[in-house]
């Protein structure tokens, strides 16, 4: 069985470096992008099994725009998406409805996140496929 592919999209290079290392150790094939546009291009060519997406990149809602574009893509629309946000912890009044209709993602997680936790969440998503 071929290894599962994970696409990390985050403008924080440290975040990408660390989680890439942990995911690779866990047996995933990982590619990384540092912006939403690059990430969308990569998703269209690489067809990852799971996309890990940062909510707030250069533009404050970049992550949700990427998620929406993935959902609108006929090929990628069922690819599981994990959206990470530090906004919720940073601004407690900022609520994201964890509701499929509202945010087209599978899982919403708070940043920072322990690498082991992210690995476990991705394993769970892949096993459901």
């Amino acid at each position: 069985m071929a290894a599962n592919k994970v696409l990390l999209i985050d403008d924080d290079e440290d975040f990408v470096a660390i989680h890439k290392a942990y995911l690779e150790r866990a047996g995933f094939v990982v590619s990384a992008c540092y912006s939403g546009d690059d990430g969308l291009d990569a998703a269209r060519t690489e067809h990852p099994d799971v996309v890990v997406l940062d909510f707030m990149m250069a533009r404050p809602t970049e992550g949700s725009l990427v998620a929406q574009a993935l959902r609108d893509d006929p090929v990628l629309k069922t690819t599981p998406i994990i959206l990470l946000t530090s906004v919720r912890a940073k601004h407690p009044w900022w609520g994201v409805q964890q509701d499929g209709d509202y945010l087209p993602v599978d899982i919403l997680l708070d940043k920072p996140i322990e690498p082991e936790r992210l690995v476990a969440e991705i394993r769970q998503l892949v096993s459901q496929k």
């Binding site: 440290d14 470096a17 660390i18 150790r25 707030m56 250069a58 940073k90 407690p92 920072p112």
Partner: protein, 500 residues
């Protein structure tokens, strides 16, 4: 008679006067005598006697007229009229005019004493009744004063007070209650609280106290006033009489909106700080995990990169903690300030000198321009250095390579004005209102590489605020920004006093 009593014997016959005196003095009476009505009136005007023994027939002013005059001087005067011509007619006439009794002549000592004792008793009862009446009047006056005083106190209170009887009808309320509960004054008094107040929670509390009062000593609950987004703390307790009988309920309402707001701002700040502390620590921990878990390759260059990035995060953490300590120092307020006379030009030179290497690394030129001789200012040197350092350091960080930063100082109105002008990225209009917020950082593609805690401008603003100064920003995207600080000239301590 146990107690001594005073008697004035009024008679034109000396024998009668002295006879009575002898008899009465034996029974502890203080006896005085007068040989005419005129003399009796004169004596009565000087002091009161418990009893007057008045002969009806006297030359000059007769007994009846004397009686009238005595009673005019002391309406409670008790008089026994003595007469040698006792008739029913005389007795009626005397009683009509206010005499207590009539004593016919001749009389025995016992007859005299019997009449006198009865009269004295009457006098004592009259005085006691008068004392009680006066006492009652004084009490009523006191109660009225106390009531009006209580009313005034309750009306002046900032907390709302609402009192109901046992049926829940409002019997007392103050203006604060009307204001806090957004009530119509005319709807309040005499109306049932359930009809008057729109706050169902408050009505519930009052009804619960009225219903189950015996088991309830006091209910406390926060209630929301929807229309004004206010939060009230309501305390409701039963009102009882001295026998513990429930008479009604009293509700005291305090507006705690501001407290809640402060509380929320505090938790929000704590939450933001925790997040800002956790983020770099998570990175450091992640990198350490990589090294220790053998996830880093054996490539010493990569390992070195990981360690140097961890170190950079650790340093940013230290800067953040320094900034937080600064904030707490500013919050400690005026007490912590070491105010001295400062030369603003010298501070500008110092700050620019310190930051020059950082600017030079990117080819940025730092310049200062001053509009002639500037007056000295009164401030804590550390504060002014901090404000200027934060602004100039931002002007360097957000500048383009080979750009420039100008610090311009001038006097405007009663203020020292410091402009920090850069040739950098500029700030979008929607961001200018937020950049002074704690932890707010402009996020754009171009700002990705710029490090910072998001506290620099917040600290600068807090410091400037603490001097009653102003900090403003004007900016154009792609061209640059100008941050202007206005610090009041003159003695801050005096200014503060003037304001307070």
């Amino acid at each position: 008679m146990d107690e001594s009593f005073s008697v004035l014997v009024v008679d034109d016959e000396r024998g009668m006067r002295e006879g009575c005196r002898r008899i009465l003095e034996r029974h502890a009476a203080l006896v005085d005598t007068a040989e005419s009505g005129d003399e009796a009136v004169a004596k009565f005007a000087r002091r009161h006697y418990d009893l007057a023994l008045v002969d009806i027939r006297m030359p000059g002013m007769d007994g009846m007229e004397t009686l009238d005059r005595l009673r005019a001087l002391d309406p409670d005067a008790v008089a026994i009229m003595v007469t040698g011509y006792a008739s029913l007619q005389t007795a009626i006439e005397a009683t009509k005019r206010g005499a207590h009794d009539v004593l016919p002549k001749p009389f025995t000592p016992d007859q005299l004493l019997a009449k006198v004792f009865s009269a004295v008793e009457r006098r004592q009862l009259t005085l006691e009744a008068k004392r009680l009446r006066e006492e009652r009047e004084r009490r009523l006056l006191e109660i009225a004063t106390e009531k009006s005083r209580l009313r005034t106190v309750i009306n002046c209170m900032q907390d709302g007070v609402l009192v109901t009887n046992r049926d829940g009808d409002v019997v007392l309320s103050n203006p604060a209650a009307t204001r806090l509960l957004l009530l119509d004054d005319s709807r309040l008094l005499e109306h049932n609280v359930a009809d008057a107040a729109r706050q169902a929670e408050l009505v519930d509390m009052i009804e619960k106290v009225l219903r189950e009062g015996d088991g309830v000593s006091m209910l406390a609950r926060e209630i929301a006033v929807e229309r004004e987004n206010r939060v009230l703390m309501a305390n409701v307790a039963p009102v009882r009489d001295e026998n513990g009988e429930r008479l009604g309920a009293v509700a005291v309402l305090r507006d705690i909106t501001q407290l809640k707001e402060l509380d929320r701002a505090k938790s929000q700040f704590v939450s933001m700080v925790s997040h800002e502390l956790r983020a770099p620590l998570a990175v450091i921990e992640g990198y350490l995990g990589m090294v220790l878990g053998g996830m880093a390759t054996d490539d010493p260059v990569e390992e070195r990169l990981i360690l140097s990035r961890s170190r950079a995060r650790a340093q940013s953490l230290l800067t953040l903690i320094d900034d937080l300590l600064d904030i707490s120092r500013i919050e400690a307020g005026q007490l912590a300030k070491r105010v001295e006379t400062l030369d603003p030009a010298e501070i500008c030179r110092d700050v620019l000198g310190l930051l020059r290497p950082q600017a030079a690394a990117r080819g940025i030129v730092l310049r200062e321009e001053s509009a002639g001789d500037l007056p000295r200012i009164q401030a804590d040197r550390e504060d002014v250095v901090r404000v200027l350092t934060n602004l100039v350091s931002n002007a360097i960080k957000y500048n383009r390579d080979e750009g420039q930063v100008v610090v311009r100082s001038s006097i405007e109105g009663g203020y020292l004005r410091l402009d920090v002008v850069d040739t950098g990225l500029g700030i979008a209009a929607e961001d200018t209102s937020k950049i002074f917020d704690e932890f707010y950082r402009v996020k754009r593609r171009e700002t990705r590489e710029i490090t910072g805690t998001g506290l620099g401008l917040a600290i600068a603003k807090r410091i400037v605020d603490s001097y009653n100064g102003v900090v403003k920003v004007a900016s154009e995207l792609g061209k640059g920004s100008t941050f202007s600080v206005f610090l009041p000239l003159g003695d801050i301590a005096n200014m503060r006093n003037a304001i307070e």
